[in-house]
Every structure is written in structure tokens, then in C-alpha cells.
């Protein structure tokens, strides 16, 4: 019977807690590095202009607010953890620090793309005037976000797992 690797899981749990803690305590101004590229892409896709307002986030004249809870921090953490757990080494690097750095960069990029997809779809969804009685606006928004996130996580997992299979 395979023993549980306490060291690995303990470290991962610690990483999870620290990252989640950092994202939870950070204010919107400190998360601008994550939001700015997302908003840039959203502006291109939707032709909606956003303005940065300190302590609030990016707002548009249509009252769309991209703030802390929209930053994609949750997805970034989960994406990072997935890479760590899968021990994914995209560039076959031998230096540990470089390996970790490359994973951070890729997770960052994927987060930007995924979150942009989510926000753009949500804006489109919000623009439909059709009333759905069994689901309110907030729930439909969260549902859409969840579908996109899960789809992306499954896709990433499939891609990196397939690469494993090919390698072995």
C-alpha cells in the first residue's frame, strides 16, 4: 500500500493557505497587477471602456465593476496547485527555482485568459434582457463563471496528463 506523502501534501496545504491568505488580505490596489491585463483584454473584446478608481477597482459607465472578487485570485491558486501536484515541468528545467518560476508565469497567463473569457461572457450574459425566473442574475453569473473555470481546469488537466502519458 502506497504511503501518503505527508511532506508533499503538508507543503501544498501551506502554499494554499499562504496564497489564499495573501489574496484575502490584499486590497484592490495591491491586486492591480492581476486586473490590469484582464481589463485590457476585456476592453478589446467588449469595446467597453473601464476607468481605474483607487480602492474600488475598474468601473465602466455601464456600471460594470471589476473589483477584488473578480481578480481571478482563486483560479490562479487552484491552477498553481494543479501544476505543483502534477509536478508539471513544461520546459524540462532542472533548476527547482526556475521550474517554480515558469509554472507561476504560465498559471498567471492562463488565469488572465480564463478570467477574461469569464468576464466577457458575463458581460454578454448581463446584456441579455430575457428574464429567467428560476435563476437570478447573480446565480447565473456565478454558474457561468463556474462552468468556464471547470472547463479550463479540466482542459489543462487533460493536456498535462496526456503529455505525461506520451512521455511514459
Amino acid at each position: 500500500m502506497k504511503m501518503i506523502n505527508w511532506k508533499k501534501w503538508g507543503t501544498l496545504t501551506l502554499v494554499l493557505l499562504i496564497l489564499k491568505g495573501l489574496f484575502s488580505f490584499a486590497n484592490i490596489n495591491q491586486l492591480q497587477w492581476l486586473l490590469t491585463p484582464i481589463v485590457y483584454l476585456v476592453e478589446i473584446c467588449t469595446a467597453i471602456d473601464f476607468i481605474w478608481e483607487p480602492n474600488i477597482g475598474y468601473t465602466s459607465y455601464d456600471n460594470i465593476i471589476i473589483e477584488k472578487s473578480c481578480s481571478g485570485g482563486n483560479f490562479f491558486i487552484i491552477c498553481l496547485l494543479l501544476f505543483f501536484i502534477k509536478k508539471w515541468n513544461p520546459f524540462h528545467l532542472n533548476v527547482k527555482a526556475l521550474k517554480v518560476f515558469s509554472i507561476f508565469i504560465i498559471a498567471f497567463g492562463i488565469t488572465i485568459i480564463t478570467n477574461t473569457m469569464r468576464i466577457v461572457s458575463a458581460i454578454k450574459l448581463a446584456s441579455f434582457n430575457t428574464e429567467i425566473t428560476f435563476i437570478n442574475h447573480k446565480s447565473s453569473h456565478l454558474l457561468l463563471g463556474s462552468i468556464i473555470y471547470i472547463f479550463m481546469l479540466l482542459s489543462i488537466n487533460y493536456l498535462i496528463t496526456t503529455k505525461y502519458a506520451e512521455a511514459s
Partner: protein, 891 residues
């Protein structure tokens, strides 16, 4: 051995390094640049201690130093650190979040440092001072008992005596300093001996944590005494819930049953104490920061023992459960026991989550039923007033800053979770909380003079006017510019001109101006709250503003500030009207006579009609039946009114006039009396429901109100609104009713597409909308008068149905702005400087975006991410699945 060292380092990492990093992070968030320098000493100490800890931990891991050095350095270093922090306690007040936030920054360093010190202390005892004999262990008990007494003698007797005898010049602060040092050292010594004794006791007795005497003392008696003691003083929080006493008893019973030789009873004990474990863990976490304080209270009546009980009980509980687990696993199996204990342990947390969810639903329901209810919905909501009361209380306390010495105590830690779960970033304004208190808890109103709505004349004025009227042929209406000259007759300056006047509903104001110095400053149309906010700010700064706005359906207020002694200022506005207008400002009557032209009924928008006062006179009269509504006070204040109603109703029922009885408390029950409530009287909703019901009915509602005035809920309306809303004088207080029911009303009738619409027989203009109000939309119209009529219709419909008001609020604002016509949601304000205008627009934007005011409906769309726990579950599922696939692939 090396592995053990690694675990030891890891535990130091968990108990000390991570909490310290978190501490640094939290304080880094709240220490702003302007106060940063004041915190330099503490920052340096924090960094120094962290670096020192890292170095010593590294040396310890490599076994380059004796194993007792690491704990000793940590205990000494962090005690000094805490000491310096609390010596500079006043620095906490420099943090801006202290005033507004709900986090107690004084207690955070304790929470995040004591676990490390405690672990170091236990480590030190195990590594260096391991009690070996029974006698040496008893000595520990003796030292632990003597330490508080000795401290007491030193602090209370010896120190002041020395001061008096030898150091007369010793200042009070120096004594305080020495006293604090002594108490800190004594606290550590006490803990050292106490932990050493407890450790030695368990070690010698070999796993006797489930000793019945020990269990009953620390599991039942002391917690009960502690909780009872805390009931009155509430220093540590509010634990006055019968459920907590029940859990204490349940847990103690469980621990007691663990000592039974019968394995079935032992299993029951295991389940019960597993249920109680979250409670023990909770109190352990709550009391960790109070460990040093426990020593001081040990001196005072031994209360410190009560404070240490949660800590001791935590260790007893863990040990007792571990012993029983080992015994029971041979009978029931390891996995079953883990499953049972897990299920049992989540009972209390799950209950808390369910309660929070229930309260969250309730809060959204009460917000909805107070501000956004649908008047067409006549179903009675039987609110649980005690639950609402609890939530409102939590919300009130949350809006204040609470510290651990605050008298408004809540349950520590759980209250933070409660706020997060129930309120979820929803910080309601005090005015809304006041509304809830009034509506749901029946808080009685205070008598304020301003509620009588007498126009205050702050300035003794001389007012003159002139006007110029133009007929706009294309639009078939008149445009009249009215100019005023207002003179301050007094010898004193800085006076405010205030007037209120009535305006018919088919007269619209535009182009308001105020002459400031030599220039004409046209008013900006702004959202009402934003405009009033800036007006109040400016009057404080004694600059020039003028403000014109609706204060009820037909009444307006005009204020201009300031006036110097004997100064004359000019102001004015333009009105759109179809008929002659008469306005009365203070004592001045303004007459604008015009020739009445087209006096037919006008369809100003699709299915929306305007009937002027003169047009009404041409309509045929008709007689309509009355329908009586009795609003009966169903609150605790309404007993006398209910009795009177019964008497009157017995007489009334003989008249056979159709009627309904509305029992009114926080909600409205139609013809079915619910249990009397200790809530407010929802007057506005009752009236709105009746108005909504009679929208297209061929009956006239006559409302007789049997209710106390003290707890009436008007929302944002006032008595004047109700008087204006019932022009036939068909809203009557019970004591004003002559008890002679009127069965018929004479009205005029307008027939549109075969449907009769009945209107009061007077010369007041009226609006009729013949389509479903849900489909009502603004249609762009080149005729400004027709556009203004649309705006007015929109507002009138919204007024009696808050659900629609919320939906259309933003649109009506936008229309008012684009048409440049004053509406009931907007305000004309003349501002002197560009800076004032900028501030107003910024504030307005905030209100429109619903960022600073919860009094305005939300129209914003937030792009929130899916929940973190959901993603975590997805991740776990992903990790679980490929493993199976891989296995099958490689077979």
C-alpha cells in the same frame, strides 16, 4: 533523531513563523505612509525577532546548539516583543481601520504570538526540565501556586513600599513599567511550572486524562462557573446562550462516559465528546491570548484558573479521545471510528453554518420586504421578530468598533464568521438600520419639531418678482421665466433664505439659476442625496450655493445661502405649464395668468393620458361606491385601538358596505388576524397595497386607521404625502371619523377605448396610464412638455410600488438629466466653484454606482469569481480521476 528535529522545526514554523508573517502582513496593510515612521521601532523589533528565530532554528536543525536554546530564545525574545508592543499601545489608535473596522488590532499580536511562546514553553519543559520524580513534580505545583501570591505581594505591597521609602522621585510611569515587567515574568514562570506539573502528572499517571474527577472539574464545573461568571461582565464575549451550556454538559458527559469499562458506553462517550470537540477547540482559540492575563486574575479570587480551563480542557479532551480511540478501534475498526468522530465533530459547525444561512436569507428578505416589496402581492409574511431583532442587533454592534474590552460584546471569532456569512460585505447605513428597528422591532419615534414641516424662515426677507411668459406654439404650452429679488432686511449677515411652496403636478421647473457676484450660475441637476450632501458641506464652508428640490409630491423647497446684512440677491427659474399658475413663496403670491388653449384630453405617450383641471370640468359626472378598509394596529401598542375597532365595526357591519380589515404589523394580513407582534406598524405598505388594488377599480377606497402613531413606519414618506395622496379626504384617523359611513362619491368619468376611468371632481390635473405598468417605457418626444408629463407619470407609478421604483429609479434620473427638468429624485443646485461641481459629480457617480450609499437601489453588475471552495472541490475531483485511468491504462 534527525526526523524528530525536522518535525520540531516544522512545528515552530507553524506555531510561530507563519503567524508572525501573517502578523506582519496584516499590520502592513493598515499602517499607512503618514504614520509609518511612528511604527519604526516595532517594525524593527518584529524583523529582528524573525531573523533571530530563523538563525536559531537553522542552527537547531543542524544540531549546532543545545536543544533548549531555541525555545528559551523564542520565549525571551517574543515576550520582550509583546512587552514593547503593549508599552506602545497608544500607537494602535493611529490606525485608521481601528475606528471603522471590526477587527481588534490590539488582540491580533497576542493571537499570533502566544501559540509560538506556548509551544516553546512546552518544548523547553520536555527538553530541559522534564519532571522525573513525583516529589519534584509536586514542587512544580507548589511553585505554580506560590508565583501569583508572590507576584501579588511584590506588586501590591513591596513595590509601593520601596517607592515610598527610597524613591520618592520615582514617577508613576516608571513604577508602572517595573510592575508590568514583574507581571510578565511571573506569568511566564507560572505557566512554566503549571505546564510542567500537568505534563509530569500525565506522564506519571500514564494516560489518565479521562480520570472522572479531572473531567468533571475541568469539563463541567469550571466551565459552568466560568460561563456564569462571564454572564454579567462579558469581558471575553457574549456566551449567554443556553445552547452553549447544553454543549458543555454534553461534552462533559461524553468525557465522563469515556472512563466506562463497557465498550458500548465508551463508544457513546466517544461520540458525545467528538460532538463537543469543536466547542473545546473554539474556547481554546478564544482564550489563547488571555494566558498572560490569567495570571493577574489568578491573584484576584483565582479567576485565572477559569481562564486557563479552556486551555487545560483542550489537552484533556485530545488525550482522552486518543486513549479511547486506541481502545475502541480494536472493537469497531479504525475507519468506522474516524468516520463516526468526523460526522459527530461537524454537527456543531454545520449547525452554525445552517443558522447563518437562515439569517442571511432573513436579512435579504427583510431588506426586500422593507424597500422593494411588490404592492400587488397581498400574502402576509409572518416574520419571526426575535430572529429579526437578533440580526438587527448584530448589525448595529457590527457598525461600531468593538474591542475585547467593549461592553457590546459578541461571540469572539464566530461573530467574524457570522458577519462574513450573513452580511457578506453588506454594510447597511444607520438610517436603514433605524428603519428596520422601527418596522420590525416597533422602536417608537422621537418627537422632532421638523416633522411638522413648518417652513422655517431663517431670513427676514423682502421678496419681489417679475415674470415673462412665452407661448410655445409647436408644443402647445407656456414657458414662463420667474425672477426673484430677495433682500435680507436684517443687520446680520450669513443668513439663509428658505421657502417652501406648492406646485401643481402639471407644472414643471427647468433652468434654475442663482446670480453669484456678477455672473448668472445655472443650477446643475443632480441626484437628490448627492446634491444635499454637497449643499450641507458648502453651507459649512460658508460659500454660495442655491438649492431647489421637491420635498413631497406637490411641495418644493428653495434655499439660498448666504446673505450679507441688507444684501439683495437674485434667483429664478423657468416653468412649463398649460394653464394659469399661482405660487405662494413665504407671504408673496405669484400670479401667472395665461389664456387656456387646447383643453382636451391629451395622449402624451402611447396609452398615457393627461387631463388638465379644465378638461376635467368638461367630463360627465358619475357616482361611485365606496369600499372601506380598516387598518387595525396588530402591534403590542395597539390594544386600545383594537378594542375601539371592535366596537365601531359592530355598528359599521350593519351598513352592508363592502369592506376589508387589514391587520397591520411589520406586514399586512388581509381579513385574518395573526398573533399580535412586538413590531412596528407598516403604514406605507398598507396604503400602497390599497392604492395599487384600486388602480383601475370602479370603487373609491375609504381608509380608516385604528393605530398608534408612535410606531408607524412611513419609509421615506411623511404625513403630508398621505394627505396629498388622498384628495377626497378618504384617509381618516379613527378618532376623526364620524362613524357615519359614506357609501357614495361623486366623480368625473373619462372613457378611453371603452374603459371608464374615474377621477376626483376638482380642478387638479390628472394622469392616466391604460397599459400594464410593467410595460411602461419612456418614449422619446420632441415636445418638452410631453416628455415632462412622461417623467411625472413614471414617478407617480413608482411611488406606490417600490418594486417598480427600484426598477425605474435610474431611468427616471437619466430622463430628468437629459430633459433638464426637475423631478422628485433630482435637485437643482447652483454651485460657485468648479471644485464644488467636480465633488458633486464624483459623489453623484458614487451614489449612482451604489458604492457609498445603500439607500439607493443597485444597478451595478459585479463580475465576481466562482467560490473558492467550489474550485477546490473541482481540483480534488480532477486529482482523483486520472489515478484510476492511469491504473487501467497500464494494466
Amino acid at each position: 533523531m534527525q526526523k524528530l528535529h525536522k518535525y520540531r522545526t516544522l512545528f515552530y514554523g507553524i506555531t510561530l513563523i507563519i503567524p508572525q508573517l501573517l502578523l506582519g502582513f496584516i499590520f502592513n496593510q493598515v499602517i499607512t505612509d503618514d504614520i509609518s515612521s511612528e511604527w519604526d521601532t516595532l517594525k524593527n523589533i518584529w524583523s529582528l525577532l524573525l531573523i533571530l528565530s530563523f538563525i536559531i532554528m537553522g542552527l537547531d536543525l543542524k544540531q549546532k546548539i543545545e536543544n533548549w536554546i531555541l525555545p528559551l530564545v523564542i520565549i525571551a525574545g517574543y515576550l520582550i516583543g509583546l512587552f514593547v508592543f503593549f508599552s506602545n499601545n497608544n500607537l494602535i489608535n493611529t490606525l485608521s481601520n481601528v475606528v471603522t473596522g471590526r477587527i481588534d488590532y490590539k488582540i491580533i499580536p497576542l493571537y499570533l504570538t502566544i501559540p509560538g511562546i506556548l509551544y516553546a514553553l512546552i518544548d523547553l519543559i520536555i527538553k530541559k526540565f522534564n519532571p522525573t520524580t513525583h516529589t519534584s513534580n509536586l514542587r512544580n505545583l507548589g511553585y505554580a501556586a506560590i508565583t501569583p501570591i508572590a507576584t501579588y505581594v511584590v506588586v501590591v505591597v513591596i513595590l509601593p513600599s520601596i517607592k515610598k521609602m527610597f524613591f520618592n522621585d520615582l514617577t508613576y510611569s516608571n513604577v508602572e513599567f517595573i510592575r508590568t515587567i514583574i507581571v510578565s515574568i511571573a506569568a511566564t514562570l507560572f505557566l512554566f511550572f503549571a505546564i510542567r506539573y500537568i505534563y509530569g502528572y500525565f506522564k506519571k499517571r500514564k494516560t489518565k486524562a479521562n480520570n472522572p474527577v479531572l473531567v468533571l472539574t475541568f469539563g463541567l464545573i469550571l466551565p459552568f462557573v466560568g460561563l456564569a461568571f462571564n454572564t454579567n461582565i462579558q469581558i471575553f464575549g457574549n456566551f449567554n446562550y443556553p445552547l452553549i451550556y447544553g454543549i458543555v454538559f454534553l461534552n462533559a458527559t461524553g468525557l465522563y462516559l469515556l472512563s466506562s469499562p463497557n465498550h458500548k458506553i465508551k463508544l457513546l462517550g466517544f461520540i458525545l465528546s467528538s460532538i463537543g470537540t469543536p466547542y473545546v477547540l473554539y474556547f481554546f482559540l478564544v482564550f489563547i491570548p488571555y494566558i498572560p492575563l490569567a495570571l493577574i486574575l489568578l491573584i484576584a479570587l483565582g479567576l485565572g484558573l477559569l481562564m486557563l480551563t479552556p486551555i487545560i480542557l483542550f489537552f484533556i479532551q485530545l488525550k482522552a479521545l486518543a486513549i479511547s480511540f486506541n481502545e475502541l478501534k480494536t472493537i469497531y475498526g479504525k475507519n468506522i471510528l474516524i468516520l463516526i468522530s468526523f460526522l459527530a465533530a461537524i454537527i456543531i459547525p454545520t449547525t452554525i453554518v445552517i443558522i447563518c444561512q437562515d439569517h442571511k436569507n432573513t436579512i435579504s428578505e427583510i431588506i426586500d420586504k422593507t424597500y422593494h416589496y411588490d404592492s400587488d402581492n397581498l400574502i402576509y409574511n409572518d416574520f419571526n421578530i426575535s430572529k429579526v431583532s437578533y440580526i438587527v442587533k448584530q448589525m448595529t454592534v457590527r457598525n461600531r468598533h468593538s474591542s475585547f474590552l467593549d461592553s457590546h460584546q459578541r461571540m469572539p471569532l464566530i461573530s467574524i464568521y457570522y458577519d462574513w456569512h450573513v452580511f457578506n460585505n453588506l454594510k447597511l447605513s444607520n438610517s436603514k438600520i433605524k428603519d428596520f428597528k422601527k418596522l420590525f422591532l416597533g422602536e417608537e419615534k422621537r418627537i422632532n419639531n421638523w416633522q411638522r414641516r413648518v417652513a422655517p424662515t431663517k431670513l427676514k426677507d423682502s421678496l419681489t418678482y417679475n415674470h415673462t411668459t412665452t407661448y410655445i406654439t409647436e408644443g402647445d404650452y407656456y414657458e414662463t421665466q420667474v425672477d426673484f429679488e430677495i433682500t435680507n432686511l436684517e443687520d446680520k449677515g450669513l443668513r439663509e433664505f428658505v421657502t417652501e411652496f406648492n406646485l401643481p403636478e402639471d407644472v414643471f421647473i427647468t433652468k434654475y439659476y442663482l446670480d453669484i457676484e456678477d455672473r448668472r450660475e445655472y443650477g446643475i441637476l443632480a441626484e437628490k442625496k448627492a446634491a444635499n450632501w454637497i449643499y450641507n458641506q458648502i453651507t459649512n464652508q460658508r460659500k454660495d450655493p442655491g438649492i431647489l428640490q421637491y420635498i413631497s409630491d406637490k411641495r418644493l423647497s428653495l434655499k439660498i445661502f448666504p446673505f450679507k446684512a441688507h444684501e439683495t440677491r437674485t434667483s429664478g427659474f423657468t416653468i412649463y405649464h398649460k394653464n394659469s399658475v399661482q405660487l405662494t413663496l413665504n407671504k408673496l403670491t405669484i400670479n401667472i395668468p395665461v389664456k387656456a388653449r387646447n383643453q382636451n384630453v391629451i395622449e402624451f405617450s402611447k396609452n398615457a393620458f393627461y387631463i388638465s383641471g379644465l378638461a376635467k370640468q368638461k367630463l360627465p359626472t358619475s357616482t361611485l361606491k365606496a369600499h372601506y378598509y380598516f387598518l387595525v394596529d396588530n402591534t403590542r401598542l395597539g390594544e386600545d385601538f383594537r378594542t375601539n375597532f371592535k366596537k365601531d365595526y359592530d355598528l359599521f357591519s350593519k351598513s352592508n358596505i363592502t369592506n376589508d380589515i387589514l391587520y397591520v404589523d411589520a406586514d399586512i394580513s388581509w381579513n385574518d388576524k395573526p398573533k399580535t407582534k412586538a413590531s412596528g406598524f407598516n403604514y406605507i405598505k398598507a396604503v400602497n397595497q390599497i392604492q395599487q388594488l384600486h388602480r383601475n377599480k370602479s370603487e373609491i377606497p375609504v381608509i380608516i386607521v385604528y393605530a398608534n402613531t408612535a410606531n408607524r413606519f412611513y419609509a421615506d414618506k411623511n404625513e403630508l404625502y398621505f394627505q396629498e395622496a388622498f384628495p377626497l379626504k378618504n384617509l381618516i384617523e379613527a378618532h376623526d371619523w364620524n362613524k357615519k359611513p359614506t357609501n357614495k362619491f361623486e366623480l368625473v368619468t373619462l372613457t378611453i377605448k371603452g374603459v371608464d376611468y374615474h377621477l376626483p371632481k376638482n380642478n387638479i390635473a390628472q394622469f392616466i396610464n391604460t397599459q400594464s405598468i410593467d410595460k411602461l417605457k419612456f418614449n422619446s418626444n420632441s415636445n418638452p412638455f410631453y416628455s415632462a408629463l412622461q417623467l411625472r407619470l413614471f414617478e407617480k407609478i413608482g411611488a406606490s410600488n417600490p418594486k417598480l421604483k427600484r426598477d425605474h429609479w435610474l431611468k427616471s434620473l437619466q430622463q430628468s438629466f437629459s430633459l433638464n427638468i426637475l423631478s422628485k429624485n433630482t435637485t437643482y443646485i447652483s454651485l460657485e466653484t468648479e471644485d464644488q461641481k467636480k465633488r458633486l459629480l464624483k459623489r453623484q457617480k458614487e451614489i449612482l454606482n451604489n458604492k457609498n450609499s445603500h439607500n439607493t437601489p443597485s444597478e451595478e453588475v459585479r463580475m465576481s469569481e466562482p467560490y473558492f471552495w467550489l474550485l477546490l472541490i473541482v481540483l480534488l475531483l480532477i486529482l482523483w480521476k486520472p489515478k484510476r485511468i492511469t491504473k487501467t491504462t497500464f494494466k
